[in-house]
């Protein structure tokens, strides 16, 4: 890189990381001040871990993300298999369009639209509040599904169509053919889709905000409620922990990635040597 290019990227990185660095530093501040660092202390971390409501929100968030990722991955993979087999041009176009809707629509519209339906249906059955864990799960599955489908579909398209047919002609049931032949081929896409669904669900605030019931609070909603009133460094402690968890996850996934690409390379070289 030229010096000018280096300086420019450095500035961009400064812009991206300075605010996060400030949060990290001030999470260890003894005083409540946001501009003067007085003394190193773990006070706000202790406060955070005493906050039962926040800890409960963490538990809820993880539970919801696991459920949403599991449901959307199974249903999305099945859908991708079905969409891939569609021969009718118009049906295919309709499917693609509908799948795109949650990704193009602003989150606030997806959230409002689901909320309106839940409230309306709830009223039909005479329920006072229809929003709960279940309405949130439905909403999260809905916005995760397109991402799973879009990860799995290209893998199916790359696969040789004759493979599952051959398996079935050799006596496999369609289900067995899927698990024996198709699944191993699409597994990388499926795993990426699963991880995407999980992180999207963890991170979502806007759609959760509109579809959450009073009794079920996720971490983003908890953060929203915490930042509504006063500024508390407890938030910084929480942000710091989240930052390091993300960093660890990224490092692990990067390591796994380079490990798998290295083994792939080795396998390819072996193949070449055999030829």
């Amino acid at each position: 890189m030229k010096p000018a290019a280096k300086a420019y990227t450095a500035l961009i990185m400064l812009f991206l990381f300075a605010p996060i660095a400030i949060l990290l530093v001030f999470s260890f501040n003894e005083a409540k001040s946001l501009s003067v660092f007085s003394n190193f202390s773990l006070y706000w971390y202790r406060e955070l871990f005493r906050d039962a409501e926040t800890l409960n929100a963490v538990k809820n968030t993880v539970l919801l993300a696991f459920s949403a990722a599991a449901v959307s991955t199974v249903m999305g993979t099945a859908a991708a298999v079905g969409i891939n087999k569609l021969r009718n041009k118009y049906l295919r176009y309709a499917m693609d369009t509908v799948t795109n809707i949650p990704m193009i629509n602003p989150d606030i519209i997806t959230g409002i639209s689901l909320m309106l339906m839940f409230v309306f249906v709830g009223r039909l059955f005479g329920a006072a509040t229809s929003l709960s864990f279940w309405t949130m799960l439905i909403s999260h599955v809905t916005f995760c599904l397109p991402y799973v489908i879009l990860q799995v579909l290209p893998k199916l398209q790359q696969m040789d169509r004759a493979l599952p047919e051959a398996a079935m002609d050799l006596g496999c049931t369609p289900l067995r053919a899927f698990f024996k032949v198709e699944l191993p081929e699409i597994l990388p896409g499926l795993v990426t889709g699963l991880i995407m669904a999980f992180t999207l669900s963890l991170d979502d605030f806007v759609i959760s905000y509109f579809t959450a019931g009073n009794g079920f609070q996720t971490l983003p909603i908890r953060i929203y409620n915490m930042t509504k009133k006063t500024v508390t460094p407890k938030m910084y402690a929480l942000a710091t922990i989240i930052f390091f968890v993300i960093l660890a996850l990224l490092l692990i996934s990067n390591l796994a990635d380079s490990e798998s690409s290295r083994s792939l390379k080795a396998a390819r070289q072996k193949k070449k040597a055999n030829i």
Binding site: I12, F17, I20, G82, I101, P106, I108, M117, I242
Partner: protein, 292 residues
């Protein structure tokens, strides 16, 4: 044999596609119909245009430099949302385009590190990212104490439109850089070399080769920044101190006030405008790409 496998195939297709089709119908399409239904009905679910016309006709008086002025409340809010979102998107593009280009020309290892670094803030919740800027921009915040050290300031930023724009740029910047980068990374370096060999200077290479080829990435970057910034409601509340009501705030405010029919009407209008705008952009971009 062939027929049997075909019949099996179509059965499998129905079985695999059925749950998702039902789900998409119930939870993607029907909710959108509910937005329209609520938008065009009153609280007793009788048909009405009132909600829609309220968006276009409601007025309120604001204090403009000591003068009371009647303005169209929601049209003003929409214009403001559009203005701030367009400014933010433009700044993201201006900052992100050179960065994406620089990264895409670096060594594969550097590219990977840079892209991971850019993604880290994106993985942090946008509430926290916005909150960080609140800390920085406050009147007694870090920016002002830094400025104080060098004998400048204090500047009052929090609660201004500039603060809202800073928040939007910071929160959505990765969404601009990533699609542009991914298009540029696939670009053949030989094309640039060829243009140089044929006598193009750097500006010419950029204008005639790099820019047209990167256009699909630019278009998707613009959509990915413009749509969340136009519909946000947290950033404006936190960094604008609630003084700069945006279209998202209007929807959220009506929702909190349990005014679901009017909230649906605003959402409906926003959706129609966005769909129209996107179709227009796709068309323009398509033509541009063909011309290039």
């Amino acid at each position: 044999m062939k027929n049997a496998s075909k019949a099996r195939g179509s059965l499998v297709q129905r079985l695999t596609l059925a749950p998702y089709s039902l789900w998409a119908l119930l939870f993607i399409l029907v909710p959108l119909i509910f937005v329209a239904y609520y938008a065009f009905t009153d609280s007793d679910f009788n048909f009405t245009f009132d909600n829609i016309s309220r968006f276009f006709t409601a007025t309120s008086s604001i204090n403009d430099g000591g003068m009371e002025k009647e303005v169209h409340t929601y049209l003003l809010i929409f214009a403001r949302s559009l203005k701030l979102a367009v400014i933010s998107t433009f700044i993201c593009l201006l900052m992100g385009y050179p960065a994406a280009y620089i990264i895409s020309r670096a060594s594969p290892r550097t590219q990977k590190i840079m892209i991971t670094l850019i993604m880290i803030p994106m993985w942090m919740n946008f509430l926290i990212r916005t909150y960080a800027w609140m800390t920085i921009l406050q009147d007694t915040g870090i920016l002002n104490s830094l400025l104080g050290l060098i004998g400048l300031g204090p500047v009052h930023i929090i609660g201004t439109e500039a603060a809202v724009v800073i928040g939007m740029v910071y929160d959505y910047f990765p969404y601009m850089i990533l699609p542009i980068y991914s298009v540029m990374a696939k670009m053949d370096a030989k094309l640039i070399e060829a243009a140089r060999d044929l006598g193009c200077n750097s500006a010419g290479v950029l204008r005639r080769v790099v820019w047209p080829l990167s256009l699909p990435g630019v278009i998707s970057g613009i959509t990915m920044v413009l749509i969340p910034s136009i519909s946000t409601f947290y950033i404006s509340q936190k960094l604008g101190n609630g003084k700069f009501y945006l279209i998202g705030d209007a929807i959220e405010g009506q929702y909190v006030a349990n005014n679901l029919h009017f909230a649906a009407a605003i959402a409906f209008i926003l959706m129609v405008i966005l769909l129209f705008g996107m179709a227009l952009m796709q068309r323009y971009a398509g033509k541009k790409a063909v011309a290039a």
